[in-house]
Symmetry: C2
Subunit: 478 residues, 2 copies
Amino acid sequence: MAEQKKMVEAITSMDVDFAKWYTDVVRKADLADYSSVKGCTIIRPYGCAIWENIRDILDGMFKETGHENVMMPLLIPESLLQKEKDHVEGFAPEVAWVTQGGQEKLTERLCVRPTSEVLFCEHYSHIINSYRDLPMLYNQWCSVVRWEKTTRPFLRTTEFWWQEGHTMHETAEEAMAETERMLNIYARMCEEYLAIPVLKGRKTEKEQFAGAQATYTIEAMMHDGKALQSGTSHYFGDGFARAFDITFQGRDNKPAYPHQTSWGMSTRIIGAIIMTHGDDNGLALPPAVAPIQVVIVPIAQHKEGVLDKAEELRKRLSAICRVKCDASDNSPGWKFAQYEMKGVPLRLEIGPKDIENNQCVLVRRDNREKTIVPLDQLEEKIPELLKAVHDGLYQRALENRENRTYTATSMEEMIQLANEKSGFIKAMWCGDLECEMKLKEQAGVTSRCMPFEQEHLSDVCVCCGKPAKSMVVWGKAY
Amino acid sequence: MAEQKKMVEAITSMDVDFAKWYTDVVRKADLADYSSVKGCTIIRPYGCAIWENIRDILDGMFKETGHENVMMPLLIPESLLQKEKDHVEGFAPEVAWVTQGGQEKLTERLCVRPTSEVLFCEHYSHIINSYRDLPMLYNQWCSVVRWEKTTRPFLRTTEFWWQEGHTMHETAEEAMAETERMLNIYARMCEEYLAIPVLKGRKTEKEQFAGAQATYTIEAMMHDGKALQSGTSHYFGDGFARAFDITFQGRDNKPAYPHQTSWGMSTRIIGAIIMTHGDDNGLALPPAVAPIQVVIVPIAQHKEGVLDKAEELRKRLSAICRVKCDASDNSPGWKFAQYEMKGVPLRLEIGPKDIENNQCVLVRRDNREKTIVPLDQLEEKIPELLKAVHDGLYQRALENRENRTYTATSMEEMIQLANEKSGFIKAMWCGDLECEMKLKEQAGVTSRCMPFEQEHLSDVCVCCGKPAKSMVVWGKAY
């Protein structure tokens, strides 16, 4: 137990310093490491395995809905990036430029992709001819580069990994429906697999993606009350199509511009998992993406038969879950602390007495609840308990969000809440950029989204008193 | 049939112009497209699906042998690339340099990774401390950039996708064993999944990877007799470890340098699949990686019950294979040609007569052999026939290699064979670079490898007449 204590003490408490707690967890759970390249991190095997699980689930949902993967170039010629005015204004200031290739100085600079709308558009201009070619539903898994001044693993890095979907449709309605469909897939990913409750809504114009006509978002609340944008889906109308001269022959035999969407979820979501579910013992992973779902810790493993039994269980359980048996010569206490740090959802303890009684002890990561389970019932009990851990994590996150969601109907209230509390503040808004800027200046909050589920809190804008157009959720964000 | 003919005529015959045939297949089978970025191609959905299947199989074999995936930065500081002398000499001339990041001109240039030895070494220098940390068995899936003057989809592109394994070991013996183990995994991938017979051997010093002490290779023969290096595995000794000051505390408590390997297989292998198995009707895909293994083509589909039956079969067969039903209003002839072009291993034809007789027709892509199969036997017959297509492709490739493998015991013979034939030429070699250069100059051939299975063809070097050290396979290569 002394060792366990030692490990636990090695992390900063989240109440003392949440930012320090976060980086402690990232390092101690072996998720990521800094590299010698400014702003770039290394995703270590444990972090990479989480990302691969997320990728496989999302990719399955994309394919089920008819999307196909492609692999686009990493580099974008400057002239191509400049084709859509708003887009280049948004991204040009933060890209990395390649100016030399091999022995030759390039006549045109190439940027390392910060996002790939323009590459997809150029490709679409070659392959879309008729309404029969639509919809075109493409996605790619890759990394992108956006020059950052600060580095926080998963949350803010110069290079990050993501998927970017890019689709083209015959009509505006179909493109809008796609934008919504993909937002719903992201929400399902968060809620059903990552145990993260999310708010679905639309971004204000100020917070919209560069070049988009509408940006939809799912916003999650971290344990400290700050928001994390967890996935976005954009509707472009035919703006890019016009800029790239992408036309198709319509059903009426006339040329028409297709309507476009794009949508992305990135390795930031791992930051959301850490900050939604973690505690002072470390990471707590949602079972659906945990690289190890059950860790077997043998007790008194020097005693005859214990390691054999543990290994026998590992083999047996590998048919129903991702299981690991730690037979190393570290103490059980060290192992308990180690796998709590790594967020493993269930711990299975088995010692000589358990073997005698043909049972074992299962301990949940989320609430440390212990259950004694007869060995012949493990195949039923483990899936049940994994589900219980998922639900437990989800409930805790939901309660945190509910407890930290406030309502402001006056500017004084808004400023006071923003100063004294950390969380979401619901308030009515007139729709003017000026008020949005004022709320940022005076209360330090940004608009997270205009939730699809609107409430009528008051008739007037919290800032200017003019008639309100919608309820906005405001907050501080990662 | 007119339409089918039209499509078939649209590809250049491989005997007329093999290079043109290759690019025709790449384009007509929708595998890849050119982009506006010099040297960079777009891997289209069908090509991407083949790569994903290859990735999943290889990744499974890597994980079975204890390897873990990581994600390393895309960019390498110039000073880091320069740490190992031979390595930088090999790669610096062909990298792309980032000189500007966001608004700032960089004080140190960053190259887009051409390969990641130096990034892994730097990371290893931080995380390897004791012999208990070894072996360290890492891999990553990513793209790399090497500036190329010419572009041939899959074969030679500035950006290509691959996996790169990088491992560290306690002893030289263990590192050598790993080098061999991974070469064997590549050979298994080629022979058991891609139906491509390969020669395993060691590269001559001239052909070695920059910074390696030994490079092992698997060499495949394309249908035109030229070689394609299909996977390489390198042994580095402790050269990089010394350059990067990576040490660990050994079992004797003394500091020691670990021994290193790296190994890679890339999207070039898709080029190998095309050129090994393709024919004048297009692509022929090995079943293990074919995105569609069975295509159902309804015959007389306007007749009642045909489309329903076809769809019923599709659903039923999706439990045992990757199956697609093409119910479009193109003619059966057009569909036959289309899916032959795409290399689908099996075609299932079903029409009103077949339905009456409770049967269907299965047609193999490799030899067009037709089998009439009772519908209730499909679950047995399809796996059998997929296996038969795999074996058929493998046998054809093996026969091609055997028919095109020659022996030279004199320089005259070597020059004559190289001029008149296209294939592998076995000949003895003294081990001197001078003779290797002379063979290139006079016969236009390069050493492909020194096969593990050596033969004693003569006592002396084919070039200089001095005592021979080993048998080398020579040839022209992609």
